[in-house]
Amino acid sequence: MPNYRELLQQVKAEIDEVDVTQARELLDAPDRPLVVDVRELDEWTEGRIPGAIHIPRGHLESRIEQASPDRAQSIFLYCAAGNRSAFAAKSLEDLGYENVVSLAGGYTDWKRSGLPTELPRTLDGEKRQRYSRHVLIPEVGEEGQLKLLDSRVLLLGAGGLGSPSALYLAAAGVGRLGIVDDDKVDASNLQRQVMHSTSRLGDWKAESAKRTLEELNPDVEVVPYIERLTSDNVERILADGWDVIIDGADNFPTRYLINDAAVWHDIPLVHGSIYRFEGQATVFKPGDGPCYRCLFPQPPPPELAPSCAEGGVLGVLPGIIGSLQASEALKLCLGIGEPLVGRLLLFDALATEFSEVNLRRDPNCPVCGDSPTITEYVDYVEFCSGRPAHA
């Protein structure tokens, strides 16, 4: 049996090592390898090679496929002195990775040579504790949580769909939530709009939402917009800068308006709608799938599209659809998973059945098609009224 020294020599003979000069060239090259720091958390927080990702040696085998599913991807490993990364390189080669190098001399040599380093942003102790269940998920981790804290999500409607979405996004630590709603809390809302409460009857929903969400998580800044989204204010509201929009509106004019705005501003739009026992959800991602107008080129006549106020809705249904919207928004903020792009998810609470239909971008779509014919905001109320737009 070899001892540690002998084993290290044996492993180093089997892997490819580079010194700091070669490392510099590799990292400056246009096809830069994936740089993986395999040290422990306390070492990583004291400084790293710029652009590196952190996978501690102990988690390397289980997490590398997430970071680099492609076995042909070049990977550059380093630790403090080049020993742990040598063993790490051997493990990756055993896993089938074809282009792995280890930095001889490690971060110590890198830093001593005066090469650039950076201090990684990290969560402070309090945040690390609050978001620990996110940090534990390899797909999220500390980097992902920091991304969420930097993310900005705009919610249309602080009602049935907006309540669960906003609660979960705030709990998740999405740093800034905009809430557009011009309504006040009414007793008939409380059967499903769980962000409000009996003591808030008569309050602006956007203000009530701000109080609930900031109490849930003080890391979150809530921006209330006590107004109805219109062609006149949409540009001002979008100018505040949003990464994702969640559509939980209760009327067609707002849904067509926010669709057009989202396409023109290239912002993913997470759609949800509900009626009685059934809900729909999808993601409209500009340039990567259809938009709302591809799905519904024409609104139905008003008498065929009753609202929840007219037809009713099971209180928990928006809880399910709104939570799905929050889940999609978090994935979009994190850049992980397969968002509901090009798929419309249908949920039937009575049958307890999820189904999906495929959606495709319409090349003739007047807004996101190849030759758009609508390029500025229209009169959305008139468009949805069933009356012709031009007499």
Binding site: L156, G157, G159, G160, L161, G162, D183, N189, Q193, D247, G248, A249, D250, N251, F252, R255, G272, S273, I274, Y275, R276, F277, E278, Q280, L295, F296, P297, Q298, P299, P300, P301, L304, A305, P306, S307, C308, A309, G311, V313, P318, L344, L346, D348, L350, A351, S355, E356, V357, N358, L359, R360, D362
Partner: protein, 90 residues
């Protein structure tokens, strides 16, 4: 015989059923057969003598607009979903 899933806002016209049978070789035939069985649906689905453009029809999960439209042929046992736009969110 195919099965057509009826959206909640139209169920009042089909006696409350979630799914009803209909017969036809094309999507159009299927929908007109459906309306012959449940005449109350006609004003909701027909515009200018043909199936209204705001009615979304999915055959085995695919929008018939991306197939041959209302002329898309239907084999027996197919499942069709009528999908209305729903505005509700609050």
């Amino acid at each position: 015989m195919s099965r057509i899933r009826i959206p909640p806002m139209l169920r009042g016209d089909v006696g409350g059923a979630r799914e009803v049978p209909a017969e036809g070789d094309t999507v159009r035939e299927l929908l007109f057969d459906l309306m012959a069985r449940f005449p109350g649906l006609r004003p909701q689905l027909v515009e200018d003598g043909d199936i209204a453009s705001y009615v979304n029809v999915y055959l085995e999960g695919e929008d018939v607009r991306t197939l041959d439209g209302l002329d898309t042929s239907v084999s027996p046992g197919s499942s069709v979903i009528l999908l209305p736009a729903m505005a509700g969110g609050l």
